[in-house]
Symmetry: C2
Subunit: 213 residues, 2 copies
C-alpha cells in the first residue's frame, strides 16, 4: 500500500492525491504538516517538505518527482502527454505552476487564511494588494494565452491542468478568484478543472477537512 505524507490543503499534496485518483491507486494518507521538527519524517523528506511518498521500500519526496515516478511505474493511465514535445511543455507548465504561480497564490492564502485562522495574526494587506495588483497580472496575462478555450491543455485532464489550477484553489480559500472580465479564458479553465469528475470529490473531501463543509 502506498503511503502519502502531507496535508490535503497543500497545493503540491493535492497534485499527488489527484494523480493517485486518476491512476486508480489505493493509498493511505498521513496528515503531515510541512517543516515539522520530526526526525522520523526528515528521514523521508530531508528538507521537511510535503508531499513525501512511500511505496514499499522506496521513499520519495517532491511532488514532481513523485508524479514522474507514478507515471513511470503505472503507465496504464497517463497523466503526462506521451509525445516528447508535449511532455516537455507539460513539465514546464508544472514547473511554472509550482514556482511563481504557487509563490504568489499561496502568498495570498498565507496572509488571508493561515495568519488569521492558524496564527491569530492580522494579514499583511499591503503585501496582498501588491501580489494582486502588481505581481499576478503579468503571470495571469501569460496564462490567459496558454490555456485552451475548451477542454484541457492536452485534450483530456492531465497533471499539467491540475498543477496549474492547484495554487488557485488555495487562493480561493482566501476569497481570491481570478477576475473573469480581465482573464475570461483562464477563469473558465480554472472552473472546468475544479468541476471535473476527478477533481470535484477531492475538493469536497478537502473542504470538509478545512472545515468549510
Amino acid at each position: 500500500m502506498i503511503i502519502l505524507h502531507g496535508v490535503s490543503a497543500s497545493p503540491y499534496v493535492r497534485k499527488v492525491i489527484t494523480v493517485l485518483a486518476m491512476k486508480q491507486l489505493p493509498f493511505e494518507q498521513k496528515q503531515q504538516m510541512p517543516f515539522a521538527r520530526d526526525a522520523e519524517f526528515n528521514k523521508i523528506s530531508p528538507l521537511g517538505k510535503i508531499p513525501a511518498l512511500q511505496d514499499g521500500d522506496i521513499t520519495l519526496c517532491d511532488s514532481t518527482v513523485i508524479c514522474e515516478y507514478l507515471e513511470d511505474t503505472h503507465p496504464e493511465i497517463n497523466v503526462y502527454p506521451t509525445n516528447h514535445a508535449d511532455k516537455a511543455k507539460a513539465r514546464w507548465i508544472e514547473e511554472l505552476a509550482g514556482s511563481r504561480v504557487t509563490e504568489l497564490a499561496t502568498g495570498i492564502f498565507f496572509q488571508r487564511f493561515m495568519r488569521p485562522m492558524v496564527f491569530k495574526q492580522d494579514p499583511d494587506e499591503a503585501l496582498v494588494e501588491k501580489i494582486i495588483d502588481k505581481d499576478l497580472p503579468p503571470i495571469l496575462d501569460h496564462l490567459e494565452t496558454l490555456v485552451p478555450a475548451t477542454d484541457f491543455l492536452f485534450g483530456e485532464l492531465q497533471l499539467a491542468d491540475i498543477s496549474l489550477v492547484s495554487p488557485f484553489i488555495n487562493a480561493s480559500y482566501a476569497n481570491y478568484t481570478v477576475d473573469t472580465q480581465h482573464w475570461p479564458q483562464l477563469s473558465a479553465f480554472i472552473d472546468r478543472v475544479k468541476t471535473h469528475p476527478i477533481m470535484e470529490p477531492i475538493l469536497e473531501a478537502e473542504a470538509k477537512i478545512m472545515g468549510f463543509a
Copy 2:
C-alpha cells in the same frame, strides 16, 4: 542545430552544457544573462530565467525540463538511470541540488564574486558567515551520507552527479570549498566529478570566459 540560451557560469546552464556534451549533441550557445528585459527572450522564457533551449520549432525552459527532454529524445547515451526507483532518486537529488544547495552555494557566489566583480559593492559578510556556519552544515551532513566513496551516484557519471556538484563550482569561484576534514566523502566526490573527462574541458572553457585562465 540546438540553440542554448544562457551564460556558462550559471549552475543550471552548466547542467545542460554537460548533458549536451555527454550526449554528443552539437549546439550553438547564446550568452544570455538572466532576468534581462528582453521581449524576444521572454517569449522563450516567460520568467526570464536561464537556461532556455530551442530545438527547431520547440522552445523549452528550466534546466530539468530541458534535460528530461534531451533524455527522451536522445536516449542512446543515458544521463538518468533507467530503472524507475533509481530514476526517481536521481530526480530528487537534482531537485535538492537545484533548490536548497544552489540557493546556499550561489548565495556565497553572489556576495563574494558577483557583488565586488560585477556590481562594485562590498559583500555582506555576515550573510556569508551565516550560510557557511549555520545553513550549509546540515545539508553537507546529509550529502556526506548520500554520495558514494568511489565512482559516482549511479556508477558512471550522470546528471545527478553534475547537478549536485554544479552549485559548488560557483561557490569555488568565491573561494569557498567544502571542508575536507568535516565532509571528506563529499569533498572527494566533488573533486572526482570536476576532474571527470567530460567535465574538465567544460570547466576549463568556463574559466576562460570568467577570466580565470
